[in-house]
Amino acid sequence: MPDTRPITTATIESMATQFLGLTISPANAGATADMLNALSADMQALRALPLGDVEPATTFAAAEGQP
């Protein structure tokens, strides 16, 4: 079973500071944590999909206007 401990407000606050250089209010951090906890559930099936050696479908081209 995966660890289902929820993402907390404190986690969001410290990640905002350390990874993003962003100051986030406790209220916004709380709302963000709630949203991420909900989104996490929606991604269970995606995490279980065997991806093998498939590359991501990016659209980058080395030259502008490359066909």
């Binding site: 993402i7 969001i12 990640m15 905002a16 993003l20 962003l22 986030i24 916004n28 709302a31 963000t32 709630d34 949203m35 991420l36 989104l39 929606d42 991604m43 269970q44 099936a45 995606l46 995490r47 999909l49 991806l51 498939v54 590359e55 991501p56 479908a57 990016t58 659209t59 081209a61 502008e64 206007g65 066909p67």
Partner: protein, 468 residues
């Protein structure tokens, strides 16, 4: 000319024959726009000066003998597309002072074709929602019942067509934002294949899943407008270089032998019984025209939902990050947590979603080889009252975000073209929509199917009482 029902071709015929001037027609459209604005909040800004200047130019071009595919056709655009000299607000306080220096490619194409832009249309803030509730510009209200949502995020785009303000509007669709409001307001909305219409000059929600397309009363008008909008654009690297078909010429062919895919699991589960009955009757109508039904199974739908979320959130947040750093408080309360959330999602999730996208595309292509059109309801329920968070469906209440988007957003992840069209009304007088989805770049098939259906039915000609 019965303005609420006037088609693009009727307008262009009248303007080309100089029975009516573009200026006359645009004045009538502006009058209707002003008349309904306080009650329905379709617009963020009505632009009479720009419209009259453009109309005068159209009349001049007609006098000079030009033939224009949209001569004098009034249109309006979702307020995330640039219209030179006006604010592109994104429906948000944060962008209120962002004045466009040029026109979005799609807007310019409509103007070059003789269209006349009468204004910018209201939307769910930053296109990141599906109700049309907007604290800055007022809640967009459903023309069939103003106590209910119009849907979104292209809320004003659907309202303006439903009220007969103009026969064409421009919308964008990242999870259903053209199709869902079209269904809830009783109009026709086309999300073309990803890459078919340039995204340049439109503010992004999700670069890899945003689609630009028209909302119209009829599929015939959608065909006319798509022919104008489609085509490659150096300003959008993802725009396709494929030749643009003559969509209007291709919609008249019959649909005998057309293979219509239907999947009961997921797409026909948990429907409001009135929606189920209307969509089934729509399918039956198409079968009576010679189409045949094929049962199919689209795999990986739960994975599609997860991948959509893993892409849309980080892409939206990447665009909004500079504004979140300085103006977070100015975003609407329902939008801010969405945009902040994407900042914290692991990059690996995003890349895995892009990998899953390839797998889903490959698996779906196999299914779509066996059908020409995939038919679903557009939404499982009709328009809900403002403030609702759950949809009442058989099997128990369902979060509105799942109810309203689960049937449409899979086709944003895969980039498949899809059209929503009216197929009935509830007993309480609310529109019901069905969705037709095709293989990439088969808009002709979708438009033809929708047009043949609309030749046999009158749902698309119904007008809210207030608009008559």
């Amino acid at each position: 000319m019965n303005m609420p029902l006037t088609s693009c071709s009727e307008i262009t015929t009248a303007v080309h024959s100089q029975q009516r001037s573009a200026r006359d027609i645009v004045d009538a459209a502006l009058q209707r726009a002003e008349k309904f604005q306080d009650r329905f909040r379709a617009f963020t800004k009505i632009t009479p000066d720009i419209a009259r200047r453009q109309a005068a130019r159209v009349d001049e071009r007609i006098r000079n003998g030009e033939r224009l595919p949209l001569a004098g056709v009034p249109f309006a655009v979702k307020d995330l597309f640039d219209l030179e000299g006006t604010p592109t607000t994104y429906g948000a306080k944060v962008f209120a002072n962002r004045i466009a220096k040029s026109n979005a490619t799609a807007v310019q194409k409509l103007i070059d074709a003789g269209g006349v832009c009468i204004g910018k249309l209201n939307l769910h803030e930053c296109a990141f929602g599906f109700t049309g509730e907007n604290p800055t510009f007022g809640n967009a209200r459903n023309p069939w019942d103003p106590s209910r949502i119009a849907g979104g995020s292209s809320s004003g785009s659907a309202i303006a067509v439903a009220l007969g303000i103009c026969p064409v509007t421009l919308g964008s669709d990242t999870g259903g934002s053209i199709r869902q409001p079209s269904a809830l307001c009783g109009v026709t909305g086309l999300k073309p294949t990803y890459g078919r219409v340039s995204r340049a000059g439109g503010l992004p929600l999700s670069w890899t899943m945003d689609h630009v397309g028209p909302l119209t009363r009829t599929a015939a008008d959608a065909a006319l407008v798509l022919k104008v909008l489609a085509g490659t654009d150096p300003a959008d690297e993802t725009s396709s270089r494929r030749a643009v078909p003559d969509y209007p010429a291709e919609i008249s062919a019959r649909i005998r032998g057309l293979r219509i895919g239907v999947m009961h699991r997921w797409f026909f589960e948990g429907l409001d019984p009135e929606v189920a009955a209307a969509v089934t009757a729509g399918l039956d109508k198409l079968l009576s025209l010679g189409a045949r039904q094929v049962e199919v199974n689209l795999p990986l739908l739960e994975e599609t939902l997860g991948a959509h979320r893993a892409i849309i959130f980080p892409e939206a947040s990447a665009f909004h990050r500079p504004f979140l750093e300085k103006q977070a408080a100015e975003y609407a309360d329902d939008i801010r947590p969405l945009l902040l959330s994407g900042l914290f999602m692991p990059a690996v999730n995003y890349l895995d979603a892009l990998r899953a996208r390839r797998i889903i595309r490959r698996e779906w292509a196999k299914v779509f080889e066996t059908i020409d059109v995939f038919l679903t309801p557009t939404t499982p329920v009709t328009a809900t009252p403002f403030g609702a968070t759950m949809a009442e469906v058989p099997g128990g209440p369902k979060p509105l975000v799942r109810a309203y988007l689960d049937l449409t957003l899979p086709f944003n992840l895969t980039g498949y073209p899809a059209i929503a069209l009216p197929c009935g009304f509830s007993r309480s007088g609310l529109p019901i929509g069905m969705q037709l989805v095709g293989q990439p770049f088969t808009e002709s098939v979708l438009l033809r199917t929708a047009h043949q259906y609309q030749q046999e039915t009158d749902w698309h000609t119904r007008i809210p009482t207030v608009a008559k």
